[in-house]
């Protein structure tokens, strides 16, 4: 797979497998393959390049999450799916900004997709809440939590990094940090 050029459009099943295997190159080829299509949709419908980037990445994240959680069923071409999700997201964004003139210029065929972006909203909400909670948590707690739970580093490494005299102190610290994080996370309003 690594021999293939970065510019070739990956097949749909290649993309699914690539996402499941966390393949960097497939993600890149996927991204490059369909970005122009989405850019075309958005810049010709009252948007700019940055809007296109936001919308496209949101759509890729939706696809990524769906594939990862295993509830992705490809009922059409992946291209059509991505276009439809972007179209839907952009329409929503336009009406939020009151820029929607009731008319959208289409460049591809599309399907109706509604529930997916709703489900993604829930994830978005939790993502934002977690980011906010971690920000409020402050240092060194934030780094300890991120190192241990996200970067999967061992307590021993963390202990050395932070100069704790023994692993028990580090564990106590981590415990306290986690309790505070939970509190901060659940305190936030939806």
């Amino acid at each position: 797979m690594s021999k293939e050029s970065v510019n070739t459009i990956p097949t749909d099943s290649e993309v699914i497998l690539g996402i499941l295997n966390n393949s960097e190159s497939v993600l890149k080829r996927l991204y490059i393959a369909y970005f122009p299509m989405v850019l075309q949709l958005i810049i010709n419908n009252n948007g700019d390049g940055d809007d296109a980037k936001d919308i496209y990445q949101e759509a890729i994240i939706i696809l990524y999450n769906k594939v990862k959680t295993g509830d992705f069923e490809l009922s059409s071409k992946l291209k059509t799916y991505i276009y439809s999700v972007c179209r839907r997201l952009w329409l929503k964004r336009l009406s939020q900004m009151n820029r929607y003139g009731g008319d959208i210029k289409d460049f591809e065929e599309y399907l109706s997709v509604d529930d997916e972006s709703e489900k993604n909203n829930e994830r978005d909400l939790q993502f934002n809440k977690m980011g906010e909670a971690l920000k409020l948590l402050g240092e060194p707690c934030k780094t300890i939590i991120e190192d241990f739970y996200i970067n999967n580093r061992s307590m021993k490494e963390i202990c050395e990094d932070f100069g704790y005299t023994n692993a028990d102190n580090a564990k106590t610290q981590k415990y306290k940090c986690l309790q505070r994080l939970k509190k901060l996370f659940f305190q936030q309003k939806d």
Partner: protein, 363 residues
């Protein structure tokens, strides 16, 4: 076991760091103690959320990195739908174009204003008889030329015909200003063919009304006027008629009131749909009951069958406005109407003696 230690165990359990025996012991603890089990589920969920956050962050970072490699600007230029030349011209220069257009419109309006174009819109509004008057003055001119040639004086034209009607029994007659304007002498001819000399006692172009007085010594006072003047406005759709002298004989014209305002919205006039010819100018406009509701005034030349009549209230105002020192006898307007119950034939029989043909001479 403290909560801190329990959590530490859960972390190790979830990370798969426990030995086989530890794991077995912990699993049996989960089964025995519901509180421990709940703790495990809860912690697992929360750690899941943290991991999800981390993954999402990582994914965004990767996507941003990929995005950096794309030349978005070049792509945008390629993919933007290029509008047609005229649209592009408008987008680039619309402010300049707007200013230019405003100046152009302003200039046109100024030109129109200063050349008087806007003020002279009534050009197609031809007062009844204007052309005849022009012809007449032309004939008078040619008569003079003939005289200069030494020929015998040619008898002057017996004048244009208009119509007038009596407003009082002592010889006051009303007609249109434009009928008698410019006249040297005015004669009125009654239905029985007698001609009387009259003088113009009041002349004003607006409203188009002239008051004549019969000065001929042979004139005897008329019997009381059978019609009166209606003060209120009449309604659209009312049947109206007029009697006048478009030809040498008296002619009846019947029709209906078609609008409450006259030419170009003139509120002092009615629009009527009555067959009318130039000689009808100055004739009375009456409703079914024989009330005078106006005086036939002018005709719009480009609308067949449409004429105008000055409303009676303005006619009365014009009569009232005559300076009293120009009257040697009072004008007593009649306010009794004896025509109301009569049929049209009888009405006209009563009317005919009060309607006069107006002859105008000028030399």
């Amino acid at each position: 076991m403290s909560e801190k230690e329990l959590l530490d165990q859960i972390d190790r359990y979830l990370n798969g760091e426990m030995t086989k025996e530890e794991r077995a012991r912990f699993e049996s603890l989960r089964i025995e103690d519901a509180a421990v089990n709940e703790k495990v589920v809860e912690h697992k969920h929360f750690v899941g959320l943290i991991k999800q956050y981390g993954e999402r962050l990582e994914l965004e970072r990767r996507l941003d990195a990929i995005h950096e490699e794309i030349d978005v600007h070049t792509l945008e230029d390629e993919l933007m739908m290029h509008p047609s030349g005229i649209v592009r011209l408008w987008r680039n220069h619309h402010s300049k174009i707007s200013v230019a257009a405003s100046i152009a419109i302003f200039a046109v309006l100024c030109t129109l204003f200063f050349t008087g174009y806007l003020a002279n819109r009534e050009i197609n509004y031809l007062e009844v008889g204007r052309i005849q008057r022009l012809e007449k003055s032309q004939k008078a001119l040619s008569n003079k030329v003939n005289q200069l040639d030494g020929n015998k004086s040619v008898r002057t034209n017996p004048g244009i015909k208009g119509t007038g009607f009596a407003i009082s029994s002592n010889g006051y007659i009303v007609t249109d200003y434009h009928v008698v304007n410019g006249a040297d002498s005015v004669y009125v001819q009654s239905y029985d063919g007698k001609s009387y000399k009259a003088r113009v006692i009041n002349l004003a172009a607006d409203p188009d009304v002239a008051i004549l007085q019969i000065t001929d010594p042979s004139f005897k006072a008329l019997p009381p006027i059978p019609y009166n003047f209606k003060k209120a406005e009449s309604d659209i759709g009312e049947n109206v008629f007029t009697v006048g002298y478009p030809i040498d004989a008296m002619v009846l014209g019947m029709g209906y009131l078609s609008a409450g305002s006259g030419y170009q919205g003139d509120s002092t006039s009615y629009q009527i749909s009555v067959p009318v010819n130039p000689g009808n100018s100055g004739g009375p406009l009456l409703d079914n009951k024989g009330n005078v509701i106006g005086i036939v005034d002018a005709k719009q030349t480009n609308m067949a069958g449409t004429a105008f009549a000055l409303k009676s209230s303005y006619l009365m105002k014009a009569i009232e406005n005559i300076p009293s020192d120009s009257l040697n006898k009072p004008i007593n307007l009649n306010n009794k109407n004896v025509l109301a119950t009569l049929n049209r034939v009888q009405q006209i029989k009563k009317l005919q003696n009060y309607i006069f043909m107006i002859r105008v001479y000028n030399q």
